[in-house]
């Protein structure tokens, strides 16, 4: 039913000429795409901060090379916005083809910005990929709505993410762990200096702000829409009242913050922090396997739910190797690639596929994955809270910097 509606919308968009320029790479004609892709080089712009992920991308590149004759070059970014900046600069220079970025790992506000500026290849190609038939778009609404922005097939889902907290059971007993934002504040009062969050605009840090916002805001429906400037101050008041109380209890009394998640991980290992959090439920297990965290680290979530989202792959409107990018995006969506991706020894990123749609063989392979000692089972992960509209993130970030951006 949903699929049909989408098709109708797409047809309407095509009819209205929203499709943009006609392109040789039409995912609807897959045979032609594969033929055109052969011999192309795909510049895949993706965050390069984790060697596990880099190794996974190398593996995928090797597979696509041997199966389809497509070369993949991983352009390692420290911030996805750099790839967006490249496309912006190219557009500024009037370079509407032959762009430097072929495929980009993206979600949230970067996607919203590229979509708004018309920097994305379209129309809908994602739902025409052969492996789309396995995607769980029925029970995972974040596959079709990226931070409340409809994806409209302009990006293809790649993996899931959910906010999960970690602690060292050798230092912090399970019974003491907080189960909500309010309890976290109490815990920080009892353990001053042992909690912090990455300094916004780091996305893990702003995710924490959103988690608290969702828990404390009066009318949750407001978060699905852009910020209403008239009521923003009132809407966000509970969040900032909370942060005002929390800040002096943070690591270094809130005069400095960890830079990002790996920084927090290091600080958990060093004993500077006692509770940290990540956007990947398998992080703790893979860190233990890498000797970055002690064996005694465990995961926990809030029973009321934690933030969840999906991350995607998108193709810029001026990409050079669009066909190659389509082939790579499709391969990364295949059960084989998704299984490997969910393996905590390799990456540990939750799949976007619906197990029910897979063949019996693939399904049992997923079910038999050893998720690792510190990883919660899917049924222990608790409810997923939807991401607010990207507008909220921007406003809250700005307000955070205004309030807490200068230490005294």
């Amino acid at each position: 039913m949903i699929g049909r509606t989408r098709k109708i919308i797409m047809a309407a968009m095509l009819a209205l000429g929203l499709a943009g320029e006609a392109s040789a790479a039409d995912a609807g004609n897959w045979g032609a795409v594969v033929a055109e892709a052969k011999g192309q080089t795909v510049y895949f712009n993706a965050w390069g901060g984790s060697e596990n992920i880099n190794a996974y991308i190398r593996w995928a590149g090797g597979e696509v090379k041997s199966r389809y004759g497509v070369d993949v070059v991983h352009v390692k970014l420290d911030d996805t916005a750099k790839a967006v900046a490249t496309v912006v600069a190219e557009k500024a220079a009037g370079k509407s083809d032959g762009g430097a970025v072929d495929l980009v790992w993206i979600n949230g506000e970067n996607f919203a910005a590229m979509k708004r500026e018309g920097l994305l290849f379209g129309p809908d190609w994602a739902t025409k990929l052969p492996n789309w038939r396995y995607v769980d778009h029925e029970t995972k609404p974040t596959v079709l709505k990226d931070f409340t922005i409809p994806t409209e097939g302009l990006e293809s889902p790649w993996g899931g993410a959910k906010l999960v907290f970690f602690h060292d059971s050798a230092r912090t007993a399970k019974a003491e762990l907080p189960d909500s934002a309010a309890e976290l504040l109490n815990w920080a009062e009892a353990n001053p200096g042992r909690f912090s969050y990455p300094q916004p605009p780091d996305f893990t840090g702003t995710s924490f702000l959103k988690q608290v916002l969702i828990a404390l805001i009066g009318d949750k429906a407001k978060l699905q829409k852009p910020v209403d400037e008239a009521t923003f101050a009132t809407d966000a008041a509970p969040l900032f009242a909370y942060l005002d109380k929390l800040t002096p209890l943070l690591w270094r009394q809130g005069k400095a913050y960890p830079q990002n998640y790996p920084d927090m991980k290091q600080k958990l290992a060093d004993g500077e922090l006692d509770i940290i959090f990540a956007f990947n439920p398998a992080e703790a297990s893979s860190a233990i396997a890498n000797g970055e965290l002690p064996q005694t680290v465990r995961s926990f979530v809030f029973s009321g739910g934690t933030l969840g989202n999906t991350h995607f792959l998108a193709i810029p409107y001026n990409a050079t190797a669009k066909a190659g990018a389509l082939v790579l995006a499709d391969f990364l969506l295949s059960p084989e690639a998704q299984l490997r991706k969910q393996d905590p020894r390799i990456w540990g990123d939750p799949t976007v596929l619906a197990l029910a749609k897979l063949s019996a063989e693939d399904r049992s392979a997923f079910e038999n994955l050893d998720l690792g000692i510190a990883t919660l089972k899917p049924d222990e992960l608790g409810p997923a809270l939807d991401e607010p509209h990207p507008d909220w993130m921007t406003r809250i970030e700005a307000e955070w910097i205004r309030r807490y951006g200068a230490a005294n």
């Binding site: 420290d78 912006v88 600069a89 910005a113 500026e117 005069k255 400095a256 004993g271 000797g291 910097i401």
Partner: protein, 571 residues
């Protein structure tokens, strides 16, 4: 008589033109880069709908929280770093040049230039942080700490750790530049003379040699000033974060997901230009005051014989710079092979080669690109510097120095501002991001350092050598190739090594101009360092540091080997 002289003028004019042309070819991208930020700063950037000139973005900039504090912090960091580095290097040269301690410290400090800023900053952070190596050494035995204390270090709001980190890196740079200039000064004679007049070592050096030495290292001092006012990577690692310094915030804005932040970033880049200008003006004032103080000292006739304390402090400071970085690099090395390493253990609980094994294979292609860029850009820059200096020497003496100043522009502008403008220029010229465009930009950044490093020894070479050779009937080219260049071989090799290491550490230009397609050790290291994994940082920092280190090793050993039997060439 009129005819031949006009012919001479013609030749000089032709040389001047070639010179001007060269300066233009190199200067144009810089000017374009500046234009590339000025236009968006005033609202003009059609791709983002900015077609009308406006001051709105400056108003927006002024409305940014804590923008004044960010700007002032950067300014203060730059001035403090430059004062500190000049004071340490100057005092040490004055106190020890020509002594055995001097040559020992010289060998200790010179390799430090090879260590990229980011790696040095990490090294320092790994040492002094509450969970760092120094505290681990004495914990819990002396301190009783079982867990790291809540000290705000590094990233302290006063930016002291950032200044310390920058000084440890700028001291070797200034020291090496001064070292290249030192042989041209009548060191021994002045020392004997001032000692005979009863001056202390410091005051004797100051009144007799310092003004001439400072003149020779002055551009390098300004480069240090501008660099430390505008630095991004060291600020991220060691600098204050609440608020961050202005360059760091510009870097964040240029990468902002909100594309319109680019207007703001451009306005801020112009503001940064203003901050740099303010820093330069303040430094000129400091220079003037220092000159007055020195003149007063000279005319007062005071001998200041009791200078043991400042001499000791300078020797200690310069040794500490070296010791901190070497120890820090050792700690980076330890992290690269560490398994679990919890506080307060002084040594890793387990050792493993895992990090190296999984890092080396992706590192290899980046290493090749890095080497190719560094070798080619340093070689081209050296060639260009030699041609430029040769032409200048042949043309009217000192007649076209200002063009040289243009070449120093990349050092006197914040990287962050004009590279973004350059990126737009290169893309709009229809150039594909490729090895060659990145090489060209590397060349642009490398040339000033090479020129800076080579110009002083070039000008100071005894001109009579060339006159003797001319009298022996040798042509200009023969004199260049068989007299000047061999005599300056050490200076050339040093200049090459300087260029090589500059190329190795270039991050922002490589990333922006290469559109991220060209991965070098620097782009890989910074991408990974944003992941904060101390083990991987350890691997990359070691590799990145070892490359220029090798170049400097060759630069210092090659003359020893080449001129094994020529005593005068080995010092």
């Amino acid at each position: 008589m009129g005819r031949p002289i006009s012919k001479e003028h013609e030749i000089a004019a032709r040389r001047l033109n070639a010179n001007t042309l060269l300066a233009l070819i190199l200067g144009l991208p810089i000017l374009a880069g500046i234009a590339g930020i000025i236009l968006p700063a005033f609202g003009y950037m059609p791709a983002l709908g900015g077609v009308r000139f406006t001051l709105r973005h400056f108003a927006e900039l002024a409305g940014q929280p804590h923008i004044l504090r960010s700007s002032l912090t950067g300014l203060a960091v730059g001035l403090a770093t430059t004062c500190g580095a000049v004071a340490i290097v100057g005092t040490f040269l004055a106190g020890f040049a020509g002594t055995p301690i001097f040559s020992r410290v010289q060998h200790l400090v010179s390799p430090l230039l090879a260590v990229p800023h980011a790696a040095a900053a990490f090294a320092l952070a790994f040492l002094v942080a509450p969970s760092g190596f120094l505290l681990r050494l004495v914990s819990p035995e002396l301190t009783g700490f079982l867990r790291p204390p809540q000290w705000l270090l590094p990233n302290d709001p006063l930016a002291l750790s950032m200044v310390a980190g920058l000084i440890t890196k700028e001291v070797p740079f200034l020291f090496l530049i001064a070292l290249a200039a030192l042989p041209q000064l009548p060191l021994r004679q002045s020392r004997q003379l001032t000692a005979a007049l009863g001056y202390g070592r410091l005051s004797g050096f100051l009144v007799s040699l310092w003004p001439a030495l400072y003149r020779q290292i002055r551009l390098a001092v300004f480069a240090v000033l501008v660099y430390s006012v505008s630095v991004v990577d060291v600020a991220i690692i060691l600098g204050p974060q609440l608020p961050a310094t202005l360059p760091m915030r510009i870097a964040q804005w240029t990468a902002d997901h909100e594309l319109r932040a680019r207007f703001l970033a451009s306005a801020a880049a112009l503001l940064q230009l203003g901050v740099v200008l303010a820093a330069v003006l303040i430094w000129l004032l400091i220079e003037r005051l220092a000159r007055l103080a020195l003149a007063w000292l000279t005319y007062s006739g005071r001998r200041l014989r009791n200078d043991a304390v400042p001499r000791f402090i300078s020797a200690f400071a310069i040794t500490a710079c070296a010791a901190l970085i070497f120890l820090g690099i050792a700690v980076l090395g330890a992290w690269s092979v560490a398994g679990l390493w919890p506080f307060p253990r002084a040594l890793p609980a387990e050792l493993t080669l895992q990090t190296w094994l999984r890092t080396l294979s992706p590192l290899w292609p980046a290493l090749l690109v890095t080497m190719a860029l560094a070798l080619l850009s340093a070689a081209l820059a050296l060639l260009c510097a030699i041609l430029l200096l040769h032409r200048n020497g042949a043309a009217d003496r000192g007649g076209d120095r200002p063009h040289h100043r243009l070449l120093y522009l990349p050092l006197l502008l914040p990287e962050i501002s004009f590279v973004f403008g350059l990126q737009i220029l290169i893309v709009s010229a229809g150039l594909k991001p490729a090895f060659w465009s990145v090489l060209a930009v590397h060349f642009l950044f490398v040339l000033p350092y090479v020129l800076l490093s080579l110009a002083a020894p070039w000008r100071e070479l005894d001109p009579r050598f060339e006159r003797v050779a001319a009298g022996l009937g040798k042509s200009q080219r023969q004199i260049l190739l068989s007299v000047r260049l061999p005599l300056l071989s050490r200076a050339c090799l040093t200049a090459f090594a300087v260029g090589f290491s500059v190329s190795i550490s270039l991050y922002l230009p490589t990333l922006l101009i290469g559109a991220g397609r060209l991965t070098t050790i620097a782009t890989e290291a910074v991408a990974l360092s944003s992941g904060g994994d101390r083990r991987v940082i350890g691997v990359y920092a070691l590799v990145q540091a070892s490359l220029p280190f090798l170049a400097f090793l060759i630069a210092s050993l090659a003359p020893q080997l080449l001129f094994r039997n020529r005593r005068a060439m080995r010092t």
